[in-house]
């Protein structure tokens, strides 16, 4: 194995098709749908029927959902979940999971928090922003998923100037 020259970069592909964008001017976004008649959003996107019982629309727009939201609640996984969960290449590490309230869509969306975030740093109501991170990899590819990254209101340095901008905005 060690003697074989492996390519340094594997293709980076979404772990699920059509649920989120990888980039864009404002960063990645979840792809949902919006009913053309009643305005109800769905995630994942729902292009066949409207979940509103009073609506029989069959016309929907694919829309990018809000990139920012607030923690409705959060938890973590201290033990490795069963398959089809696949641990990251370095082995399982506990990770946090968020339920995030999106204001415009009036809905709560789940997602992992970015790697390394500890629940002790979190509080309900905290601002978070959507990012894309590696979920796991195999010999063929690196598989990506959406995650939520906490935004610290008083962050003055470090990783994400754009986060700070959007928080202020």
């Amino acid at each position: 194995m060690a003697a074989v020259d492996r390519p340094k970069t594997k293709p980076r592909v979404p772990a699920v098709d059509g649920w989120f964008t990888l980039d864009g001017d404002d960063g990645p976004a979840l792809i949902g749908s919006r009913c053309q008649r009643c305005g109800t959003y769905s995630f994942p996107k729902q292009l066949n029927f409207c979940p509103n019982p009073a609506c029989t629309s069959q016309d929907f727009d694919e829309v990018e959902l809000s990139r920012h939201g607030r923690l409705w609640s959060y938890t973590n996984n201290c033990y490795q979940p069963p398959a089809p969960y696949v641990p990251p290449s370095g082995g399982f590490q506990p990770f946090a999971i968020a339920a995030v309230e999106l204001e415009a869509e009036q809905m709560v969306v789940l997602g992992q928090l970015t790697a390394g975030v500890d629940v002790s740093e979190l509080h309900v109501g905290q601002d978070v922003v959507l990012v894309v991170e590696t979920l796991f990899e195999d010999d063929e590819a690196e598989y990506l998923v959406w995650k939520w990254r906490p935004i610290e209101p008083d962050a003055t340095s470090g990783s994400a100037p754009r986060d700070q901008e959007t928080h202020d905005a």
């Binding site: 772990a15 699920v16 009913c35 009643c38 305005g39 109800t40 959003y41 769905s42 995630f43 994942p44 979940p51 509103n52 019982p53 009073a54 609506c55 409705w72 609640s73 959060y74 938890t75 973590n76 996984n77 201290c78 033990y79 490795q80 979940p81 069963p82 398959a83 089809p84 969960y85 696949v86 990770f95 999971i97 339920a99 415009a104 869509e105 009036q106 809905m107 709560v108 969306v109 789940l110 997602g111 992992q112 629940v119 309900v124 979920l135 998923v145």
Partner: protein, 396 residues
């Protein structure tokens, strides 16, 4: 709605545990116990409703037929019901509907499960269209993930503490000491709970119900047929198996998102409130009429939510109810005298039936060391995956 009563003639269970045998064995043990309890034989049964298990291959998906064949084909009618944790209640409701429609006199309802060790996992195979598969793949979201999201929310909204959650376990463990069908019969202290490892913050191992093998069965009869066997049976007065109302704004297992409330305002009653309220309306009673309740304590924190959902107190008051001992045996309204899921662990298709078995023993005065004195009205409730839930009201 007394003219919609059906009689519970017999109840039976196979003890909960991790026995590692085929679920059909457990189901037949429970069915025979329920028939014996009713003073009937298999040849008296017109209709079998089975509560399905999705993790035991094809026989699990056709539980009504599976149990009928195991008891011996007799040409009876069958139904098989899947509604996640509410499967047992849905099977019970199906049997009740057949009786009330005059299609049969005596029905046997059976639920049984054999469970894997550890977290519940989705059915095997690659199924990228199934949200129950995808939530494990994309989020690593187990069932305790959802329980923990609710628990953290409760701490945020009402100031609940991990010690409050631990006190639920302490109470239920004490109740379960006197239950021969419970899997865990051991007193637990707050320190024991707080010393157990965190599984999904803020929930610890002893806050979360285990997965168990077990079976429960109930023999139902029309009131006319019941009169030939008994003078004062426990009666089912209501069964609720309602879905959520759009928009459901509390995240549901195994979903990735709630409904959107952008176009339609959320309903006045949350889903879990509505489950119990539909049963109250059907029975024509209210929470003040209850003597005993069996609620679905998938986690300790969820038991506190249920106190409010079934109207024992206002939102935010459940911790006070618990601390004052009102929901313990001897209190104003004992909850989970059986020991609850804390002492049983979950045997999914059997669990809603086990709740009704317990209420039946309570109303007969046969619950021994866990008896709620003078109980004559009981309510059960539960909630499971994909917008399923149930509530049953029994009276005597």
């Amino acid at each position: 709605m007394r003219d919609h009563d059906v009689a519970i003639l017999g109840v039976g269970m196979h003890p909960w545990g991790k026995w590692g045998r085929n679920f059909v064995e457990y189901g037949i043990t429970a069915a025979r116990a329920a028939l014996d309890d009713a003073g009937l034989t298999w040849s008296d049964v017109d209709f079998v409703a089975g509560a399905d298990t999705i993790r035991n291959g094809y026989p699990g998906f056709i539980a009504g037929s599976t149990f009928s064949q195991a008891l011996g084909w007799r040409g009876n009618r069958v139904a098989s019901c899947y509604a996640a944790c509410a499967s047992g209640a849905q099977a019970l409701d199906t049997a009740r509907a057949h009786i009330l429609a005059g299609l049969c006199d005596v029905a046997l309802v059976v639920g049984a499960d054999t469970t894997p060790k550890g977290f519940f996992a989705p059915v095997g195979g690659d199924r990228p269209d199934d949200p129950d598969w995808l939530r494990f793949r994309l989020l690593g979201a187990t069932n305790p993930t959802y329980f923990a999201l609710y628990a953290r929310r409760r701490m945020e909204l009402y100031g609940a503490t991990p010690e409050d959650f631990a006190q639920v376990k302490v109470k239920n463990a004490k109740h379960g000491l006197a239950n021969p069908n419970a899997r865990y019969r051991k007193a637990v202290t707050v320190d024991d709970v707080m010393a157990s490892p965190i599984v999904a913050d803020p929930l610890r191992l002893l806050d979360i119900c285990a997965t168990s093998d077990g079976a429960a069965a109930i023999v139902l009869a029309s009131m006319d047929a019941a009169r030939r066997h008994t003078t004062n049976p426990v009666k089912i007065r209501a069964i609720s198996t309602v879905t959520p109302t759009f928009p459901q704004t509390i995240i549901e297992m195994p979903n990735f998102a709630t409904d959107s409330a952008a176009a339609v305002a959320p309903p006045e009653r949350s889903f879990k409130d509505a489950i119990a309220w539909a049963a109250y309306e059907q029975a024509g009673i209210g929470p003040e009429d209850l003597d005993v309740a069996e609620v679905y304590d998938l986690s300790t924190a969820l038991e506190l939510d249920w106190y409010e959902n079934i109207g024992l107190c206002k939102p935010g008051e459940a911790e006070r109810l618990l601390r004052d001992g009102e929901t313990a045996l001897g209190g104003r309204i004992p909850v989970n005298p059986s020991g609850g899921l804390a002492c049983f662990g979950e045997a999914i298709p059997a669990q809603a039936l086990a709740q009704v078995c317990e209420l039946t023993w309570q109303l007969r005065g046969h619950a021994g060391g866990r008896q709620v004195e003078g109980a004559s009205v009981g309510l059960s409730c539960n909630q499971g995956l994909f917008g399923h839930g149930s509530s049953v009201i029994v009276v005597r």
